[in-house]
């Protein structure tokens, strides 16, 4: 009976701890407002001018879900760029990808496609940078693209005479 009382009390204590916090939506959920810290520039005039309402304290949100799929416009431009590249019209392909980049600069497909077009135009240095950028934007699960991007990095490095770097990139590609 005594043990049960202890377990019950502990459970209550823990549940108390949990329920004191607002509903959980990941990491960045809102918290009850706390005392606002003094701003480095806080002044009477400032508070009258700028803070008609005090915002509640909130936290940065760290999302874990994959990024949303890219939109139709980007797909459209990538496909036009691919066609132009197949036709050997690299300048036009680059122009389409540049537009796609402006629409969605975080889309790793755009960076990788740009790297390929630049490589085809014998610009290995910038091609390598774009390929590395695409790698930085890809998640570990996107193995096909990661492999492709590292292979391209390897080719770029060979073109630039960096054989050791090329070998490292090749090994990276193989690891996927």
């Amino acid at each position: 009976m005594r043990r049960l009382w202890t377990v019950g009390s502990l459970a209550l204590l823990l549940s108390g701890c949990v329920t004191m916090r607002p509903p959980h939506q990941g990491v960045g959920q809102e918290r009850p407002s706390q005392n606002q810290e003094i701003d480095e520039g806080a002044s009477t005039q400032e508070s009258q001018l700028e803070e008609p309402r005090k915002p509640k304290k909130i936290r940065p949100v760290i999302r874990n879900s994959p990024r949303q799929k890219s939109n139709g416009a980007v797909n459209h431009l990538i496909s036009k760029a691919n066609k132009a590249q197949r036709d050997g019209d690299f300048a036009t392909a680059e122009s389409y990808l540049e537009r796609a980049y402006r629409i969605s600069h975080r889309d790793p497909r755009v960076s990788l496609a740009m790297a390929e077009v630049l490589f085809a135009q014998e610009k290995p240095s910038q091609s390598e940078q774009w390929a590395l950028r695409s790698i930085g934007l890809l998640r570990n699960q996107q193995v096909i693209m990661l492999r492709k991007a590292w292979e391209l990095v390897s080719q770029c490095r060979i073109e630039m005479g960096d054989y050791e770097g090329a070998r490292t990139a090749r090994l990276k590609a193989k690891s996927y």
Partner: protein, 750 residues
């Protein structure tokens, strides 16, 4: 042969030779000037083109502003290019044809529906479309010193009505004379003698052209003789159609400020806001009427006079049977139909144009830009620019008398690296000192993210929750003197986790951190972030005592916002020649610079600045769930107020202060931050998208101490850590029993 005959023959030969030499000299002049001068065209600078696609964030207000800026006219039903209609959230736009750097987009009718702040449906030519782009806003031109502007046209594109009106009015015998018209001269002499004053001229179109090209407006017999000689030479070397086409491009048609409007191509746009091809009979007649005296027949200033002259042109057309009675009587009843304000303006955005010219300076001489008729496609965004200017004016006003002495500068760019707006001072449109590029002012606490980043990179075990002492610090300088920096609130805050010291901009904690890792490593980090300027390595640099321009600060924050790649911000994307071919393309140049894992940590901390620290005032303007990251900066005695930060799609820097470097009442929070927030409210359509990164650990830590904790404990948060440096100490889970007691009380109705 008799002596007399010989002398006569010699004289004839001499005179003939002299005449031939004179004609050759004139001809050489004509050919050189005709080939060279007739094609002197200023370069046009365009802003970015608005890309429309399903899902694009866009409000009706922004689209309307964009359409107005590109000269679209709102109508009930769009029937011709350049018109649009809006019904609730549906827009129907009759796009104009436009020659971009890659393709020419034909005129077409599109419709789009907006829902929940974005484009829901996009239809082009009756079919669903993936992507449509509007023609860009004309930002301005780069003009020669005489500010002559023109839009070149080809003779085959000129409406017949216009040619008929011109020839009927200015030179009925154009296709039959050889440069001068003896009958016209005889008639003019007769009429002038009769009137005993200068009543009528006899200049042919060719003479008018050579007068503009080679001669002064002076009215003397000598000048008239020269004019006639030149006209004959022109006729000898060029066909009638070539002369007419040159005239149509050369003729002066009006003035817009310092800009001189030349040629019917630009004239049509200037007076009617439409292309030459789409001019009606009466509009063509009015343009021809203006030729006689652009100032006295200015239809905007003297509409009655201009109407009378236009009708005279229509009468002349009827007289020479170029139009029938019906067309004549219909046209003569119409109003002038000129637009109220000229569409194209100059020097409205001088700070941006200044940066464009500087970017182009390495590839183009100034003369080329002024004369080669280039089309320069930039990333300029008129909506963002206007919002920035508006916000600065508003802030200055809010500060009353103090505000009058304040100056400001701002730069806004996309996270992709395109500079979209540049504000060089607090008076929009005023050319002169471009503070955004040339004013180097102490950056104050804007340096702190670089110190934190340098600490992570130093391999000294620093992480976001490393405990920093914010107690008083005294640094001994090289000259033996001591320096004791203070916090803004003059208080010390004990031990503080690094991320909170950054959020609240604690000077003592950050000077201590900077001295520990070394000022050289901070300077190196600034360099790796893209700062080209020389950075001093004295201890005061840890409080941002050195000056940077807003553009340099933008570069720094562009890299802070990135995934580890430095992008040199650009303005110009493409330059095409007058034939529309790409002459130069300026692609985004990437350079891998700083580990994306370390940047990920800084990006977290800079969000805390916005939510809990000195940047929190931004949420008086931005929606509370709109994630952003940034940092305030205030220099000694509040001489400079800075804010720099980024969202999911934009990065912006704002500076406010006085040109005479005197103190202001502004801090970064109270001066630059509200302007930054208002700009972002309009400019940014995407909140910061902060996602978990492979290679980073996300641990629960105690908010106050930064020690390891658990999800179910009190006052904890999850934060990112580099695996090489994670907190080790564990914080107690329950810090206060008060919540538990309160909970029990609530159970029993206490």
């Amino acid at each position: 042969m008799k002596k007399k005959t010989k002398i006569l023959l010699a004289m004839v030969v001499s005179v003939s030779l002299m005449l031939a030499a004179g004609f050759a000299w004139i001809s050489w002049n004509v050919v050189e000037a005709f080939e060279g001068k007739k094609w002197r065209i200023p370069s046009l600078v365009y802003g970015r083109s608005l890309e429309l696609y399903s899902g694009k964030s866009l409000s009706g207000k922004l689209l309307r502003q964009e359409l107005q800026a590109t000269g679209y006219k709102k109508v009930r039903v769009p029937k011709s290019p350049g018109e649009y209609a809006q019904t609730a959230n549906k827009f129907v736009i009759y796009k104009r044809s436009f020659r971009f750097w890659d393709t020419t987009d034909d005129a077409s009718k599109i419709s789009l529906t907006l829902a929940d702040g974005s484009i829901d449906r996009l239809i082009s030519q009756g079919r669903p479309a993936d992507l449509v782009r509007l023609e860009p806003v004309l930002l301005g031109g780069i003009y020669p010193h005489d500010f002559e502007d023109r839009k070149l046209i080809k003779l085959e594109d000129v409406p017949q009505n216009l040619i008929d009106a011109l020839l009927a009015t200015e030179d009925q015998g154009f296709y039959s004379h050889w440069g001068v018209s003896p009958t016209a001269i005889a008639r003019a002499i007769y009429l002038n003698l009769k009137a005993q004053r200068y009543a009528q001229g006899a200049s042919t179109i060719t003479q008018q052209l050579v007068k503009n090209f080679f001669l002064t407006p002076e009215r003397s017999l000598k000048r008239k003789m020269l004019e006639a000689s030149y006209a004959i030479a022109v006729e000898a070397f060029y066909s009638k159609d070539e002369i007419l086409e040159t005239y149509l491009n050369e003729v002066y048609l009006g003035q817009s400020g310092s800009r001189a409007i030349h040629g019917f191509g630009l004239g049509a746009e200037f007076y009617f806001g439409k292309s030459l091809e789409s001019l009606s009979l009466q509009e063509s007649a009015l343009l021809v009427a203006i030729v006689n005296g652009p100032s006295i027949f200015n239809p905007r200033r003297f509409p009655t006079r201009a109407l009378k002259r236009r009708n005279l042109v229509l009468n002349l057309m009827l007289d020479v049977e170029k139009i029938d009675k019906e067309s004549h009587s219909k046209a003569i009843k119409t109003k002038l139909g000129v637009t109220s304000t000229p569409r194209a303006q100059t020097l409205k955005y001088p700070a941006y144009l200044d940066l464009v010219k500087r970017h182009l300076a390495r590839d183009y001489a100034n003369e080329d830009l002024q004369q080669e008729g280039l089309q320069i496609f930039t990333a300029f965004d008129i909506n963002i620019q206007r919002q920035g200017e508006k916000s600065i004016i508003k802030r200055k006003k809010a500060w009353g008398r103090t505000g009058k002495q304040l100056e400001a500068a701002a730069v806004v760019a996309s996270l992709g690296g395109d500079i979209e707006a540049v504000i060089g001072g607090s008076t929009p449109g005023l050319p002169g000192f471009n503070r955004a590029l040339d004013s180097k002012r102490p950056i104050g606490s804007l340096v702190k993210p670089a110190i934190a980043l340098a600490a992570f990179r130093a391999g000294a075990g620093y992480h976001l929750t490393s405990s920093l002492s914010d107690e008083k610090i005294t640094v001994t300088l090289d000259d033996g003197k001591t320096w004791s920096p203070k916090n803004y609130d003059l208080e010390s805050h004990g031990d503080v986790p690094l991320y909170l010291a950054l959020a609240h901009s604690y000077n003592q904690a950050f000077v201590r951190l900077g001295m520990d890792i070394g000022t050289e490593s901070v300077a190196q980090t600034l360099f790796d972030l893209g700062i080209d300027d020389d950075i001093p390595t004295n201890p005061a640099m840890l409080l941002g005592s050195f000056g940077l321009s807003p553009l340099s600060v933008l570069q720094m924050f562009q890299t802070l916002a990135s995934q580890g790649f430095m992008v040199k911000p650009r303005t110009v994307r493409y330059v095409t020649n007058r034939d529309g071919e790409i002459q130069k393309s300026y692609q985004i140049q990437l350079q891998e610079s700083i580990s994306k894992e370390y940047l990920h940590l800084i990006q977290y901390a800079l969000q805390v600045v916005m939510y809990e620290g000195t940047g929190r005032g931004a949420y008086a303007y931005l929606p509370r769930d709109f994630s952003a990251a940034g940092k305030t900066g205030t220099s000694n005695n509040k001489r400079d107020s800075w804010f720099a930060g980024f969202t999911g799609d934009k990065v912006a820097v704002v500076w406010m202060g006085r040109d005479d470097n005197k103190p202001t009442p502004l801090t970064g929070s109270s001066g630059a931050l509200p302007v930054w927030s208002e700009i972002m409210k309009t400019a940014s359509l995407e909140p910061m998208d902060y996602r978990q990164l492979d290679g980073i650990e996300y641990l629960w830590v105690d908010e106050t101490t930064g020690e390891r904790s658990f999800e179910f404990c009190q006052e904890v948060r999850q934060m990112p850590f580099h695996p090489s440096s994670i907190p080790e100490a564990v914080a107690p889970c329950i810090k206060s029993t008060k919540p538990i007691v309160d909970w029990f009380k609530s159970l029993f109705g206490g």
